[in-house]
C-alpha cells in the first residue's frame, strides 16, 4: 500500500515536470518569449529589465531552470492588465470556480445517479427510454447555447433568476462564497445547472451501464436467494459495486468541470478562474495564462492521485494486488 502510494507520487511528480516542459516549450520556443513576457506597452528600459530578469539572453536549458525556479516560488510574473502577481489573481478567483464546479457536480450526482439507477433497473419502461433519449440530448446540446437559453427563459422571459454575477458573498475559510447568502444561491443556480447538464448525462449513462452489468451477476441472484429484501439488494449489493466506476468518473470529471467552467463563467459573467483565463487569452495576458495552466496541471495531477487512493479503498481486489 505504502509503496504503491510512493510510486504513484513519483509518477505524479513526473507528470508535473513533463507538463512544465511542455508549457515552457509552448511559451518560450513556439511563441516569442519577449512578446509573451513583456507588456507590449513597455518602454525600452522596461524591456531590457525584464529580459535580464527572466534571463531571456541565457541558453534554453538555463531559461528552463529559471522558469522552474519561478514556479517553485509561485512567481509567474505580474499580470499586464492588473499589474499584480498572476498567481494571486487566480487564487483570488478560485473559490468562485470551486463553488460553481462543486454545485454542478452535486447536481449531476443527485440527478444523474438515481435516474441512471432507475433506467438500469427498469430498462423496458417508457419512462426509462425517455430518460435515455434525454441523456443523448444532454450530450449533444452545446453547453454555451443551453446557458443562453436558460438565461432567455428563466431570466428574460420569466424574470425568476438573475442573469449574471455572483450576488452577495460571505467570507469563509479565507475566500468569498456565494452559497452562504440566499441571493448568492439564486445567482449560483443557473450557472450550476448549465455546467451540470453534460455531466448529468454522463453519470446517468454510466450508472445505467453499471447497473446493467451488475444485475445479471450471480452474486446479485445469490443475494436474492438469501431472501434479502429488494431494497437491500439494490442499496448494498448493486450500489456498492457501482460506486467504483462512478467515484472514478466523478473524480475525473470534477477536474473537467473546472476546465469547462470557462464556458459557463463567460456566459453568466461569473467572476471565476475560467472567466479570467478567457479574458487573459483575449488580452494576451501571458503571465496569467501560464499561471492558470500550471495550476490546472497541478490540480489534475492531485485529483488523479486522490482518485487512485479512493479506488484502492473502494475495491478490495485492487488492495490485494498492490500488496502483492
Amino acid at each position: 500500500m505504502v509503496t504503491s502510494i510512493i510510486r504513484r507520487l513519483f509518477q505524479a511528480l513526473f507528470v508535473v515536470l513533463a507538463m512544465t516542459v511542455i508549457v515552457f516549450i509552448g511559451v518560450s520556443v513556439i511563441g516569442n518569449p519577449v512578446d509573451i513576457l513583456i507588456n507590449p506597452d513597455a518602454n525600452q528600459v522596461e524591456r531590457a529589465r525584464v529580459i535580464a530578469h527572466y534571463g531571456l539572453d541565457e541558453p534554453l536549458w538555463k531559461q528552463y531552470f529559471i522558469f522552474l525556479r519561478g514556479l517553485a516560488q509561485g512567481d509567474f510574473g505580474d499580470s499586464f492588465v492588473y499589474g499584480r502577481p498572476a498567481l494571486g489573481l487566480i487564487l483570488e478567483r478560485l473559490p468562485a470556480t470551486l463553488e460553481l464546479a462543486i454545485a454542478a457536480l452535486g447536481i449531476a450526482i443527485v440527478v444523474g445517479l438515481p435516474l441512471g439507477l432507475y433506467a438500469g433497473l427498469y430498462p423496458s419502461r417508457i419512462s426509462s427510454r425517455t430518460i435515455m433519449t434525454g441523456s443523448i440530448l444532454g450530450f449533444s446540446l452545446p453547453t454555451f447555447w443551453v446557458g443562453l437559453m436558460l438565461i432567455m427563459i428563466f431570466s428574460v422571459e420569466l424574470g425568476w433568476l438573475p442573469t449574471n454575477g455572483r450576488g452577495p458573498t460571505l467570507e469563509f475559510l479565507g475566500g468569498q462564497w456565494s452559497f452562504l447568502t440566499s441571493d448568492g444561491l439564486r445567482h449560483l443556480l443557473l450557472p450550476a445547472l448549465n455546467l451540470a447538464l453534460f455531466k448529468t448525462s454522463l453519470i446517468l449513462r454510466l450508472t445505467r451501464a453499471g447497473v446493467q452489468e451488475v444485475l445479471p451477476q450471480d452474486y446479485i441472484k445469490f443475494a436474492r436467494a438469501k431472501g434479502l429484501r429488494e431494497r437491500r439488494v439494490i442499496a448494498v449489493h448493486v450500489l456498492k459495486n457501482l460506486m467504483i466506476p462512478v467515484v472514478t468518473i466523478v473524480g475525473l470529471e470534477f477536474g473537467s468541470l473546472i476546465a469547462f467552467s470557462v464556458v459557463t463563467e463567460s456566459i453568466f459573467a461569473w467572476p471565476g478562474m475560467g472567466k479570467l483565463i478567457i479574458d487573459s487569452i483575449n488580452l494576451l495576458d501571458r503571465p496569467v495564462i501560464v499561471a492558470y495552466l500550471m495550476i490546472m496541471v497541478l490540480l489534475f495531477v492531485v485529483l488523479n492521485f486522490v482518485i487512485d487512493i479512493c479506488y484502492t479503498i473502494l475495491d478490495p481486489r485492487v488492495r490485494l494486488d498492490s500488496k502483492a
Binding site: 507528470v15 513533463a18 507538463m19 508549457v23 509552448g26 511559451v27 513556439i30 511563441g31 443523448i136 440530448l137 450530450f139 449533444s140 446540446l141 452545446p142 453547453t143 454555451f144 447555447w145 443562453l148 437559453m149 438565461i151 432567455m152 431570466s155 428574460v156 442573469t163 477536474g255 473537467s256 476546465a259 469547462f260 470557462v262 464556458v263 463567460s266 456566459i267 483565463i277 478567457i278 487569452i281 483575449n282 501571458r286 495564462i289 495552466l293 490546472m296 496541471v297 489534475f300 488523479n304
Partner: protein, 304 residues
C-alpha cells in the same frame, strides 16, 4: 499463396461480404436512418450555401446596417425577406447559418480526419515497434488524456493565438491521443494472433504487415471514434468561437453568430442566438445518432 496470406484473405474478404449486413443493420434503427437523412441534407445545404443563400453573409458590401436586428420574417428595403431575422450588422441569419455550417462541418471533418491519421499511425507504430518507443508514445497519450479536451485546446490557443486554423490545429492536437490509445489496444490484440506471427516468419516487410494486416483490423474502432469526434469537434469549435477564440466577427461561424447574439438576448432579440444554436444542435444530434448506431453495428459483440 501461403497459409498466412490465405488467412488474411478470408479476413479481408469477409469485410465486403458483411458490408451489406452492416448497411441493413444500420438502417434498421429509425433514429439512425433519420439522423443519416438529416446529415445528408445538412451537408447538402453547407456545400450549396453559396448558391442557395439569400445573400453572402461574408460580403460586407451586401450587408445593410439599416437592416440590423430585424425580426424573423421582416422585409428589407430591397424586397429581400429575412426569414430568420438579421444580426446587428444586418446580416441575414439564414445565410449566416448556411455559411456557418460550412465552417463547422469543415472544421469537424478536417480535424477528425487529421487526428485519426496521426493517432492511428502513432498507435500502430507503437504497437508494432514495442519497447521504448511504445512506452514513450503511450506515456504521452496517457498524459494528454488525463486533461480535458477543452483545456488542451485552450493551452494550444494560448500559445498559437486566435483563429479558425489554430482552432483546427488545437483540436487535432487535443484529440489524436484517443485514436492512438484505441488503435494500439486493438493492434496489440491482433499482433498476438498467429497470422501476424506467420507473416513475420515469412519476413514480409514491416510496412506490409502494418498496413495490410494490422491496419484493416483497427479500422472499425477508428471509424466509430471519428464519427463521434466530428460531433465533438463541431461543438468545441462553436464553443471556442463563442468564447471569441475562433472565427472572426466578419466571417462568423455558428458559434460566433451565437456569441454576437448573446448581448441582444437580454433585450429579447432571441433569434440571433437561437436559430444558429438550433442548427448546431440538429447537426450534432444527427451525427451522434449516426455514430451511436455505427458503434452498435460495428461492435463485434453485437454482430453475432
Amino acid at each position: 499463396m501461403t497459409v498466412s496470406n490465405a488467412d488474411n484473405e478470408t479476413i479481408v474478404k469477409s469485410e465486403p461480404g458483411s458490408s451489406s449486413r452492416v448497411f441493413k443493420d444500420f438502417f434498421s434503427s429509425p433514429g439512425a436512418a433519420i439522423g443519416f437523412a438529416v446529415l445528408i441534407i445538412i451537408c447538402g445545404l453547407a456545400i450549396l450555401a453559396p448558391w442557395i443563400s439569400p445573400q453572402n453573409p461574408y460580403d460586407l458590401m451586401q450587408l445593410d446596417i439599416m437592416d440590423g436586428r430585424l425580426a424573423p420574417g421582416s422585409e428589407s428595403m430591397n424586397g429581400l425577406v429575412y426569414h430568420l431575422g438579421t444580426d446587428s450588422q444586418g446580416r441575414d441569419i439564414l445565410s449566416g447559418i448556411l455559411y456557418g455550417l460550412r465552417t463547422s462541418l469543415t472544421v469537424g471533418v478536417v480535424s477528425a480526419i487529421a487526428a485519426a491519421l496521426i493517432g492511428t499511425s502513432a498507435g500502430l507504430f507503437a504497437a508494432y515497434t514495442g519497447g521504448r518507443i511504445e512506452t514513450g508514445v503511450m506515456r504521452l497519450v496517457d498524459l494528454q488524456l488525463s486533461f480535458p479536451t477543452i483545456l488542451m485546446a485552450l493551452m494550444m490557443l494560448a500559445v498559437l493565438g486566435k483563429g479558425v486554423t489554430n482552432v483546427v490545429i488545437a483540436l487535432i492536437i487535443a484529440e489524436w491521443a484517443t485514436y492512438a490509445r484505441t488503435v494500439r489496444a486493438t493492434a496489440l490484440v491482433e499482433r498476438e494472433k498467429e497470422y501476424i506471427e506467420a507473416a513475420r516468419m515469412l519476413r514480409l516487410p514491416g510496412w506490409r504487415i502494418l498496413f495490410r494486416h494490422l491496419l484493416p483490423n483497427c479500422l472499425a474502432p477508428v471509424i466509430v471514434i471519428a464519427t463521434m469526434q466530428v460531433a465533438r469537434a463541431i461543438g468545441l469549435e462553436a464553443t471556442l468561437s463563442f468564447l471569441g477564440l475562433g472565427a472572426s466577427v466578419t466571417e462568423p461561424s455558428l458559434g460566433m453568430l451565437i456569441s454576437t447574439g448573446y448581448q441582444y438576448l437580454l433585450t429579447g432579440l432571441y433569434w440571433i442566438s437561437f436559430f444558429p444554436g438550433v442548427a448546431l444542435l440538429i447537426t450534432i444530434v444527427a451525427i451522434n445518432l449516426v455514430g451511436d448506431r455505427v458503434r452498435d453495428v460495428l461492435n463485434p459483440r453485437n454482430a453475432s
